[in-house]
Amino acid sequence: MTDITTEKARIGAPSAQPFIDGFTEEGESLSPLNATESKSPLAGDAVKSHSHGGGVGVPDSSRAGRLTSYKLADFKPLTGMEEDWRFTPLKRLRGLHTAALDGNATTVDVSAPGNVRVETVGRDDRRIGSAAIPEDRVSANAWENFSQATVITVPADVQADGEVTVRITGTGTEASAQHIVIVAERFSKSVVVLDHQGTAVLSENVEILVEDGAQLTVISLQEWNDDAVHASSQQAKLGRDAKFKHIVVSLGGDLVRVTPSARFTAPGAEAEMFGLYFADAGQHLEQRLFVDHAVPNCKSNVLYKGALQGRNAHTVWVGDVLIRKEAEGTDTYEANRNLVLTDGARADSVPNLEIETGLIEGAGHASATGRFDDEHLFYLMARGIPEDVARRLVVRGFLNEIIQQIRVPAIEERLTDAVERELAATNH
């Protein structure tokens, strides 16, 4: 295990120059541990020293070893030095990591076709905990504090007549908890949309169970107001031959941190995970995903694309893909692309690929963060296209690749409009 860990790739480490006030090369909240040892982030020794493991009760730095627990007390208070929190400005979490999440700041309203079951259940329901276990303190805090959960069940062999829409509307700033369970039973087929709007301070756990042969698409839209704070853990467990598609779209909110995961529990399953984010001045949009290839012959494909504009717009993408020893025949690829539109914005991108077996179909990862290219602009303008139109053309085209994946026309249209609004908001 240790050997594998030392070879863990850390491509995409930011450059050594601190370009933005308050940021260092490793992010906003840099561990002193890293500060002294990260002179050469790509060097073997540095990676080794980068491990946060070794102590009693502290997991090793393989993604597999991360602490998981339903109990808040098992997670130490956050300092910002933790590997999985080092990019997050904790002071802007508005208590999600410290307060008792007993607020009631959201209303949940589900519209579903007749052949899909929607229930509101208590904490003791047997389906709670069937697909997820918290991996961080904020998630565990929500788990301890939610009072009721929304359970959506697509029965076996049923093809849902139209998509299920869960509208989560924020109505206040009391720190709150929320719990949603989505069960796609055997051979069912469905699309579930989680639509987050309004103002809220919310920690949310979404459990997603994709049973054998089921096909499920989950689309999580974060179109919050500017002052919202949202942490969302969205964990999926995939059965044999299941097909799971997960799409995260984060546009609005002061701080949004989505941590999706897909865990394969039986062979033949496929996970596609897409993301789109557009950060404006001052926004912090973070996405950390985990794909756990624990069984043979599963496929995963990850693509997240982000645009940034304005001072202190900050995006974080961390993609952890783990191919365990048992997961022979795995085929996986993950990529992140960022387009930085103005000065003063910052995109962090860290694709991590851990491979414990060589008997795989393929494994790849890629990350690219680029500025809006002056040569693109010149080419388009030399064809008579005005500068603002040219910029929009490029950004729209860049993000459209993700929007196209949604395949719910009403949502595609809404997001296209939302991207247009984001673009119109700048003075290019």
Partner: protein
Amino acid sequence: MSTLEIKDLHVSIDTEQGTKEILKGVSLTIRTGETHAIMGPNGSGKSTLASTIAGHPRYNVTSGTITLDGEDVLAMSVDERARAGVFLAMQYPVEVPGVTMTNFLRTAKTAIDGEAPKLRTWTKDVKAAMEQLRIDADFAQRNVNEGFSGGEKKRVEILQLELFKPKFAVLDETDSGLDVDALKVVSEGVNRAHAEGNMGTLLITHYTRILRYIKPDFVHVFVDGQVVEEGGPELADRLEEEGYDRYATGAGAATIAAADAAAQA
């Protein structure tokens, strides 16, 4: 009838070693219906002239003028120049990810004409122009220049030339990197556009072979940022035989003219 007039143009670029003057007083007048070939060795400033006309921000005009029917081209932004009727077929067309050819062509045509083209005739025009340039139909759905070969990129530049119908076309080494078949296809495209009678052409090339297919009315030889010799198509033939060697760097136009006069005497 339009006139593109370049007068005593001086252009420099900023390099790490400081400012470097590339064009050292270039004057040229191109009228509708004329084809001017600009020839010269590498580094003589041919492409700088092309990019300066289009308004690439890398090039600083330190003195001189460019006018289009009396309008000050240098005062226009890049897109304004294109809308005024100047088209640059680029030597290295860039890939624009995420923007399909169809979307790009329509957006540009709309910008240039000031109104959206009629959808039905437009689609037909694009299709016909693509067929004539032997560009596969599926290119329309691909992103601009993305994954195109060098030859495909050049054909797509000429496709735009034919569709946008500029007053003046500047072709920046459109022939370089093309095999004979592609060179013919591209040249035919330029000739078709020219035959409509509303365009003047500035053809920039290192080699004479494209001049077998596109007949210039005037040939200008560029050396070290200046026009050192001018003439009719026969000058191109002479260059084909003799190359650029006789234009030793630093030799002024007067020297060569004097040498020629002596030779003819």
